[in-house]
């Protein structure tokens, strides 16, 4: 099953089993079915519960909050993750505040889904991975499925928090097949302390890893290719990919801590411009272990429209490969 199909099936299941689920966003309705086709077919099946909105991102999220306060389970699509900037006040000063500042008297199940990431040549304002501005907000969750997760299941499970969830979908993943088993790569499902999945993928059995990676979301595309290449070179890599990226609830994982006792090299990778990012926070969780830790991400600049330059700025399989070689050398 493809990443986009998993999301579409999950939305369809949610809507047919729970009449409180309402989809709100721009251009969601058929025949268009959303800019990345995640909602295709849904307005035909559920015409009253797929709401095509004007271009008003702040109000779209605001309406979602109102729907949630009054007993619904809204799923809001923001067409490009870059446009989340327009929703920031609604998320930070409204959705994220209501549960605690009202004395824990309300529930606020709601999901804001949005595609992030470059690689499609959309240029500086349609290619970013700006989830870092939404990390660490108290009483908010950020979920980012990789191709090793089941994105649809994660979407459904995101309602279990009864809190606002920012759900990050990397645009390059939509057309890819999900990977839940592979002949050459071991895939293991672990759980963080919030019971959200952390997928461990590795290209070895009965060996010690040469390096441990921690990453999330769109980078999983590179990981799948990379682990196969490195296997042929007999470089053994274990990768931990949490679905819940904020708050961080995987840092006490026994399996990960055991791996870091066996292998003293850790690389944390993120899609966004690297400074002040998720990887810095993850590194801080392990920096007292006395191991070699590095992080990498996109260059600290805008994402240019030029295909060649974009390729220089964002991460690639090749760049990650080179970094791994540099660390284990």
């Amino acid at each position: 099953m493809k990443y986009v199909e998993s999301l579409n099936f999950a939305l369809s299941n949610l809507m047919s089993t729970d009449e409180k689920v309402i989809l709100v966003g721009e251009d969601l309705a058929d025949p268009y079915g959303g800019a990345f086709k995640v909602t295709k077919g849904l307005s035909t099946r559920f015409p009253d519960r797929v709401l095509n909105t004007p271009i008003s991102e702040a109000s779209i999220v605001g309406m979602g909050i109102g729907l949630s306060l009054r007993g619904f389970k809204p799923i809001i699509e923001i067409m490009f993750g870059d446009f989340l900037t327009l929703t920031f006040d609604q998320i930070l000063n409204h959705a994220a505040k209501f549960y605690a500042m009202y004395g824990a008297e309300i529930k606020l199940p709601m999901i804001v889904r949005t595609p992030m990431g470059g690689g499609r040549g959309y240029g500086p304002t349609h290619s970013q991975s700006i989830e870092k501005y939404f990390l660490g907000i108290p009483y908010t969750r950020v979920v980012a499925p990789s191709i090793f997760h089941n994105p649809g299941e994660l979407l459904i499970d995101s309602f279990s928090f009864n809190l606002p969830v920012i759900f990050i979908e990397h645009k390059l993943l939509y057309p890819l097949n999900l990977v839940d088993e592979d002949k050459e790569i071991g895939i293991e499902n672990l759980k963080d302390t919030f019971n959200f999945p952390v997928v461990k993928v590795k290209n070895f059995t009965n060996k010690d890893p040469d390096i441990i990676l921690i990453t999330y979301g769109g980078i999983s595309k590179h990981i799948f290719e990379l682990l196969k290449i490195l296997k042929t070179e007999e470089i053994w890599v274990a990768v931990y990919i949490p679905a819940l990226i904020s708050p961080i609830k995987f840092d006490k994982l026994d399996d990960l801590l055991t791996s870091l006792k066996i292998c003293d090299k850790l690389l944390v990778i993120e899609d966004a411009s690297v400074d002040f990012g998720w990887s810095a926070e993850v590194v801080s969780r392990f920096c007292n272990l006395g191991i070699h830790i590095e992080r990498m991400g996109a260059l600290n600049t805008i994402i240019p429209a030029s295909k060649e330059l974009e390729g220089e700025v964002i991460l690639s399989t090749k760049k990650i490969y080179s970094k791994i070689m540099e660390i284990i050398a």
Partner: protein
């Protein structure tokens, strides 16, 4: 129909509570800030007595005490809340600007709660509950773009939202005509929203108009924009007032609360005022002896 005595009790309770809060601040007994609505009380009292508080929904703003007291009569819990005590209406975590009780919600961000009110109206319309939604704005709020997104959505989707602009002429220290182009009362009309301008905030006039507006909302399920001319006698918050005192006195002479007293005998007024004052004094005394939420409870909210 609610009695004049009860109306006066509500008006006077709001006024005395807010005067008491300002007094506590000047004595150093409160932390943070308060925005009072002294002079604007008839709007809150009228609207809350026109809606059905069991099912209708109210979204308020940073100047929320009057709306909250008229909605809930929870004076004690409001005072405890502003004192930051665990027994406050939101466990002392929200304070003056961030209150939720039953179907009443406030927040301190200008205009931000307006699309949330529209979403709540959508929810009630889908549920077919017959509930209407009231959302309070100030003249300052009219500078926020999200308000106009909300006008568009409420009108396009035919949602029962009463947008109430309490136009007290000043956004903090800035007079409305210095920052707003055109007419504030005309701002919603281009969106196809029925608009009503009211420049007499006496209880009778407000009540007659708002009762009709509530009926219209209930049966048409369409939004209405109410522009009400008002004036706050008190500073924006605690003591930051640079307005001309002649101007303040001009409006004080037309105080709708004092005008309302003409409907009651002196004996009744004295009795009500004594009872209200006694209630507030007792709440303050109790509040001063209460404790805030423990840090352990705060860090484990909901558990």
């Amino acid at each position: 129909m609610i009695s004049n005595e009860e109306i006066y009790r509500q008006l006077y309770t709001i006024r005395k509570t807010e005067e008491t809060l300002l007094g506590l601040f000047s004595r150093g007994l409160l932390n943070g800030t308060v925005h009072t609505s002294i002079g604007q009380e008839t709007i809150a009292v009228t609207i809350m007595n026109c809606i059905d508080r069991d099912r209708d929904i109210v979204f308020s703003n940073h100047r929320a005490h009057g709306h909250f007291i008229a909605y809930s009569d929870r004076v004690e819990e409001l005072i405890f809340e502003i004192m930051g005590k665990e027994d406050g209406v939101c466990a002392g975590l929200g304070g003056s600007q961030h209150i939720h009780y039953k179907n009443f919600y406030t927040n301190g961000i200008q205009g931000g709660i307006v699309p949330i009110a529209v979403g709540a109206a959508l929810a009630e319309k889908v549920k077919n509950s017959g509930s209407i939604v009231v959302v309070f704005l100030g003249d300052g709020t009219m500078g926020e773009g999200v308000v106009y997104e909300s006008f568009n959505l409420a009108s396009k989707w035919s949602l029962p939202v009463m947008f109430v602009l309490e136009d007290n002429q000043y956004a903090q220290s800035t007079r409305r005509d210095l920052v707003h182009a055109g007419s504030l009362s005309e701002r919603a009309r281009p969106f196809g929203i029925k608009t009503l301008s009211i420049d007499d905030q006496s209880f009778e006039n407000l009540f007659a108009n708002i009762k009709e507006v509530v009926n219209f909302l209930r049966y048409s399920s369409k939004p209405v924009f109410l522009h009400i001319e008002t004036y706050r006698f008190s500073p924006h918050s605690k003591g930051d007032d640079y307005r001309n005192t002649n101007e303040i006195d001009f409006y004080k002479a037309k105080d709708p609360l004092l005008q309302f007293r003409a409907k009651l005998t002196e004996d009744v007024i004295l009795r009500i005022e004594g009872e209200v004052q006694g209630r507030i004094n007792k709440a303050v005394e109790r509040g001063l002896n209460k404790l805030p939420l423990s840090i352990d409870k705060f860090l484990n909210l909901g558990e």
